[in-house]
Symmetry: D2
Subunit: 335 residues, 4 copies
């Protein structure tokens, strides 16, 4: 049972809105960034990564966002186009904004951190009047990402995109992706995350992200069932709560909960795990697969990405994901 | 038929949230402000005026807001208390904010303008964590005012207040009260007004205010019925659209529209007409009166205020309003 | 000995640059402002008051500043013109700035305070390219006021005005007038006050103001002689240090110090004392009077202003000041 | 004739104040940055480069500045220390500021550009109270850089450093280094550049930078002699005006002008030419060399840097510079 029905008449499978930025990944890894001398440039940002993942998986994909009027912005747009992602919804900033940056530090496979540049970034300057209604109307699914809610006018652009999606019968997936540094306060975050989540069909986040959303509500036990039940009273059909090493649980409106088995991986870094998981899971959902099969597919996609140096550029094709699952099932991947 | 049911078990009748400021009304009127030499100080701000109006009409009233830590702020709190309005929800700013000011200019009864001081004002610094849930839980009605949505963190405080009201079965009235100078753009205004209005039971505003809310929606004829129908698909029971000199129309969820007769008045200025009308109408609604009778009561209350020098201080008692209606009906008030 | 030589060939006697604002003086005095109900509007701001004082004393005066594009701004410009002050150097803001306000509170003759509105004020938006060089070139004296150094671009405008004055042989008087609320930090204040004071011929301020200027310099005893000596190493000829109730001392480059006798006054409030003193003293200096006689004239002018309700509007003519001195000398003014 | 006398009793030769940032230099060059995939990290910022240059040339050097509390900041401090530059004057930001970045693009040896990240950068947050007076007091020379004047509080810190230098008989060199993106307006720049330059002994900049400083002064012919003469009326002994491909001219207070011969170089990029020239020239001045010999030494140092991939890391030792001059003189370097 897939729980979600997609409108097959829509020509586009998937549109994401939000952050487009640059990852600068340390080439010399397993050391502090102070000792890293060179960096490789990739397209980054959670919704960008998920869109690239969906396109690699064969979905007809488009993006709604804003890039800086500089070399970094042009690199991003070109990269999306080279990955068969429609960029008619990607506008160029004219206010002197810069491209957001994320320098990654990989001290060890389990000790990863990010140094962010998020002041005056172009992606947060997307205006509601720059959101093209017909792109959303023509999509089976809209993905929104929490970081795009952090500041005006991007925040308003996302709320308008949500309204367009509901007006046109587009399934809305919400990847919470909470990054504190761009928000004024946790209370502000809670307010807008809740306003957005009320209108979404699929909500995906970590337990800590859901905790923050419950700042003004009693859930002292941090109980997943209380959390999920709230959203089923609004629009949600599926709520995925991630518990780090303890795995993810998908809650569905029928009261069921779902877990998927996990796969071994030769981990280089943990970045990108969530984005590739989201792409794999949403892809499965759009194929009409069961929750479990979709989660399994997402897990395998994540294994591939965390075994690689980049996030976006390592997003696998459906064949690669299936092959990884098959090899795991045959016991060929041992860590 | 009154359309709205109030929970009689709640001890408070009415709580308003939002702007508290100072009106400085020209003493020498019928001239440009350049030639005005002295001003009289009154409490002002649309929700403050409505709360004072409700209290004068006999409703048990409280206020949720923020005042500056100065003489103006203390004057406001004292004035509310002297008018039997509970101020346990009024907090004092500690960031150096000032009290918003409105200097009024009365060139003639029909040529009135306001010179606003709205930079760094205390009322827009109300934080969500400063909104006392039990005050709302204990109220039959919550009034929100659009100006409080103009900036963070006041905007978030209002969204939280709305959530508290819905959680506790409190009727929500939304007075649009759009003041462009505190907003970044009309598009931003439209987004947040819509997010708030979706959750309100009674929505009151001018045709122009509703037009702005429809920035991203087709209503080319500016048709009241299209406007009202949208909100009946959400939570609204009553939508009042004001057409200036052509009078106000109340639309109700049953498809009916309602007009009330108007009264003559010896107009000094037009300020305060909307606030006193709102107080009179909401009072009538809480008495279980018909829409028409409530509108008539609001109109008479407005006549009293626009015949006076102040807004807040001129808010009438129920006896005064009834007396005004009676005198009009006897033909004793001739303009 | 007058210590300063003025260029008699210059057609204007006196040009001031800086703050133009509105005083709203409590009509009901000897009580806290919370209990004040009405206010009277006057032109205010230290350099405005001094310019009005100089014009009343018969000096040909002009002003360089910026006013808001509103009723308050137009009132200010008209008032200056009505007081024979040339306003060709007064430009109008086009950025939506407001007029600075000062609400006065007079609890008792010795307990006076001010509630300031200084956010987004027009006077601090004067740009250097708006300073008309020929106005300064044609003046015998330029008065700068410390508050105009508090923020950009007004700060830059003042530095440019100083350069114009030095280029054209114009005497520069610096009224320190330190108002902490518009400054980022006392350290910032110290830096710019020093940069300006280095180029001034006459420096007037309180002991506390000079203390703040010495933030980064050793003067542990707060010794007036150390303070004055520093400035004589730069451009100063006269340094007046005010010690509150202990009176003012004028230090001169020849090493002398000067005190003047004081006069009795029926004090209503202390506001305006410094500005009227400055006008009286500078007037005396321009007449070629001795330091002592100039200080005495300033003291008498101050007595007249502090016995009145307003600052600007109470500035006396030379005849009124002389008459006050004469009456004091005849023992006719007894407090 | 060297024109400048340095106080041999001071233990430190050279202290620079101002920008510390990171250069990210394209590894794949001679193409647009869009096509660059990897970047190498270097310490950058004009005064940092000059300080590194001076230290490599054997001068006892220290730095006064502020770094971010992150990996980039720690890298900078460590790099300075590894280059024998005292960092007791380098403080760490605690406000969440980031390290300024400069991505370099080398399309061809003559087509170079920089993509800057200058929002919320640590170097501009240096406060005056963080400037250690004794570091300056103990230095023979203080170098200030124009970019540090762009914003508060760094601007105030530089003005205080200048005052400390004058108080303690330290020679001040001013490298104009005008970068428009951090300034509010060219007029603002002109005001502060002039205020600083009045107090400096050596002023170095391009003709365009001096033009901007003359925004409010008549020099319609953009005449170097007019420009230099102005500064000789203040404190300057040497004014170097750079005319791009036409070479640099040093003007001295005695009315003389000086040119040096130039050297051939196999240019990779033009970045760093000015900084290495400055280091070479100032080094020569401190050796008591003639202006011409100092300029020649600066030119040769610049040739070495522009033939290399980095700026800071390519700064040569005195032996390397002399060797380059010798090889040029022997005709061994042919481009």
């Amino acid at each position: 049972m897939s729980y979600i029905t997609y409108n097959a008449a829509k020509p586009l499978d998937f549109t994401a809105i939000g952050r487009l930025c640059i990852d600068l990944n340390a080439n010399e890894i397993n050391r502090p960034m102070e000792e890293t001398m060179t960096f490789t440039k990739y397209v980054g940002g959670s919704p960008a990564n998920i869109a690239i993942g969906m396109s690699r998986l064969g979905m007809k994909t488009s993006f709604i966002g804003k890039v800086a009027n500089d070399q970094m912005g042009r690199f991003i747009t070109t990269y999306l186009e080279n990955n068969q992602i429609a960029t008619s919804g990607v506008v160029t900033d004219d206010s002197g904004a810069v491209t957001g940056l994320a320098f990654t530090e990989i001290k060890s496979p389990s000790e990863c951190s990010i140094l962010m540049y998020r002041d005056n970034v172009a992606d947060l300057k997307l205006k509601p009047q720059e959101v093209r209604e017909e792109l959303i109307a023509n999509s089976k699914m809209l993905l929104i990402s929490g970081t795009a809610l952090a500041q005006s006018p991007s925040r308003e652009a996302v709320f308008l995109a949500i309204d367009y999606a509901r007006k046109h019968g587009v399934v809305i997936a919400f990847d919470l992706d909470y990054r504190p540094y761009t928000w004024s306060s946790p209370e502000e975050t809670a307010i807008y995350y809740n306003l957005a989540a009320e209108k979404c069909d699929i909500i995906m986040g970590t337990r800590e992200e859901f905790d923050n959303m419950e700042t003004f509500e009693p859930n002292p036990e941090r109980d997943d069932h209380v959390t999920a039940a709230k959203w089923f009273n609004y629009s949600a059909q599926i709520v995925i709560i991630k518990h780090g090493k303890d795995g993810s649980i998908a809650y569905t409106k029928d009261g069921a909960s779902h877990r998927a088995k996990s796969f071994p991986a030769k981990v280089i870094k943990t970045f990108g795990a969530g984005d590739s998981y989201a792409a794999g899971f949403l892809y499965g959902s759009m194929q009409g697969w069961s929750i479990e099969k979709s989660m399994e597919f997402g897990s395998a996609a994540a294994c591939i990405v965390i075994s690689s140096h980049s996030c976006s550029d390592a997003m696998p094709s459906a064949e690669q994901v299936q092959d990884y699952i098959d090899r795991c099932n045959r016991g060929e991947i041992i860590v």
